[in-house]
Symmetry: C2
Subunit: 342 residues, 2 copies
DNA sequence: GCAGGTCATGTAATCGATTGCACACTGGTC
DNA sequence: GACCAGTGTGCAATCGATTACATGACCTGC
């Protein structure tokens, strides 16, 4: 196998052109298919390209055509599965069309958000999918992007962002409230949601209204943070005050686990005396589902975001388009089985 | 506020040059700092750039300088936290230097691996961090990259890859064996590792040897798959044959959870009669650590990979450099507390 | 036989930043 | 006063693909 001097440098379009005895224009058209070439030329060009080991240079192509075939993704740096599910589903949709994903993480408080977004813009991404860490960041992202297609995903969405995918709080809360009503809940206590944070307040209200509509009384709102330790702390304060028929609705699985652990240690029977539910599933339900929780539709949200982005790229006019997807209720061992089987 | 015709197009170097009354060369040098310019010029250029809202064009820069300031990351599409920890730690290290991360997922069986790697190469990434889904993929990645700096991470590493970060199987197994010996284990059974898969076989051997060295007898190797269901299946076959003093060493948390659930349901007391340990922690240990498992050092592996990559980029000569990092042992409720307190 | 059309291909400008080379100027030295 | 070193700038080529426009070949129909 005597390679014909496979020079150290990569072959360019011009090399292929001279090898095939045609112009660079023809090679470009033959390989990209942007315009028809004769079958004979096509064959010759392909052969020449293969012989030289030609590889398309995406950088040069991007410069000239002003399209990088890549989108930027900005996520807060919470190490959780749901973000990884979002990334996977987004990249999956993008890969299918040969679009690359340029990933950047920002601090959960949004400190470096604008900087990261600007960097992606400097790289001339064709679009942006942003999960803003705060409402302000959401507004900034929109402003910075300056006309570039952008889709926002998550809870912290500026009311003015035209394209956004979020959780359907109302219907998700309804799903949970329905289950709680059927398992005999008469009152709920909310643990781990901050009533002073707008996004949390919205969720508190959605849950409260969904419960009220089903005859369940919205009770205290206890906020001591939103991690495992916060759950423990809150439960230590609450455990001897809870009464049968109550359900402790927790912000997420970590809080719920803390609460559950303390309650059981104190001799409170869960779910017999008190039930516990989580509003945000953090761990996939492969491990015996100890908790009843809402599984957020991250994969669908990712797919929807990509679709929206494509839509925004196609149509010049930026129509407002917001989608809210409902969570699934995963029933675990922290709530009872519903009474009617219907 | 009468903006001076902020034309729809983004300003270019040439625009800034004419605005500042200097040449494009000077602007480039002033803004990048690649060569000194006079303080006065610097100020004028900066002012002009700010006035026009100039933004660096990374694409043009990449074409000319032949450096994209980005690295490609290739990961198998397992939706697990540990990969997300790896991504986070890698991007964190890269961000600090203004390097972008181009992310691509491949099928767990490696079907589309070569394609994805080739795409990243076409995008002219400056380096590659690959977690190969199979040993063959590892070899391909090395060959395809053709001189480009590449670091491989994970279990499926071709013996010839020069730069690789992996788990230190020996020391990790030692950590676990030490704990098992101190908790009275006399014999182990391995569940969920495939003795016919080279990577699994290595792990079986490491664990076997570490145990043997501490007077624990390596017992049966049971393989019925490596997910939750496999754990259940295996446990149904094993439960009435296990004897006190045995520890079931499972491939990962899912298998271990399956085994644990069945054993408890069958009345086997864990950890009193039988102990269970997992060789791969899948879920962060925030939730009450029901399982004793090995927490793999994903974050350190990510940081190490980036460092290796930089090293490879700096030094022309590609020295062989392989690092193996040890796991941490997280002791949970599925094993007893060690006897000596020392 | 010729206007008008289609089709494949070539020519050369272009995208926007970087950089080798050349040049001008300043200041110091013998 | 001639020479040299050092510093700051500018000119223009360059990276590699894309594409508007031009060209020429060939066909069709009257």
């Amino acid at each position: 196998m005597t390679d014909s001097a496979p020079s150290d440098e990569l072959a360019t379009l011009a090399d292929v052109a001279s090898e095939a005895g045609v112009s660079t224009a023809t090679v470009s058209r033959a390989l990209s298919g942007s315009r028809p070439v004769s079958p004979d030329t096509l064959k010759r060009v392909r052969a020449a390209a293969a012989r030289l080991g030609y590889r398309h240079n995406a950088v040069a192509s991007a410069l000239r055509s002003n399209r990088t075939q890549s989108v930027g993704i900005v996520l807060p740096r919470y190490a959780t599965v749901f973000l990884s599910a979002l990334i996977e589903s987004v990249t999956e949709s993008l890969d299918a069309q040969g679009i690359g994903a340029l990933l950047r993480y920002v601090a959960p408080d949004g400190a470096d958000h604008d900087e990261r977004v600007a960097d992606l813009l400097d790289r001339r991404v064709d679009g942006l999918i942003v999960c803003p860490p705060t409402i302000e960041a959401s507004g900034h992202a929109q402003r910075l992007s300056h006309g570039l297609p952008i889709v926002q995903v998550g809870r912290f969405l500026d009311p003015d962002t035209p394209s956004a995918v979020s959780l359907d709080e109302t219907s998700s809360a309804g799903l949970l409230a329905h289950h709680l009503a059927r398992t005999g809940t008469r009152k709920i206590v909310t643990v781990g949601l901050d009533p002073d944070a707008p996004a949390d307040a919205t969720r508190i209200r959605s849950v409260g209204e969904a419960c009220a509509a089903r005859g369940i009384a919205p009770g205290a709102v206890v906020y001591r943070g939103s991690d495992l330790l916060a759950g423990v702390t809150a439960a230590e304060e609450l455990w001897d005050a809870v009464t049968p028929g109550e359900t402790l609705v927790c912000a997420n699985d970590d809080v719920a686990t803390g609460v559950l652990t303390v309650l059981r240690a104190r001799g409170v029977r869960v779910p017999d005396d008190v039930q516990i539910a989580s509003l945000l599933q953090l761990y996939p339900d492969a491990q015996g589902t100890p908790l009843t929780s809402l599984r957020h539709p991250w994969r669908q949200m990712g797919a929807e975001a990509v679709e929206m982005l494509e839509h925004a790229q196609r149509s010049r006019v930026a129509a407002r388009r917001r989608t809210a997807l409902s969570a699934d209720l995963v029933v675990g061992a922290s709530t009872r089985t519903p009474q009617e089987e219907s």
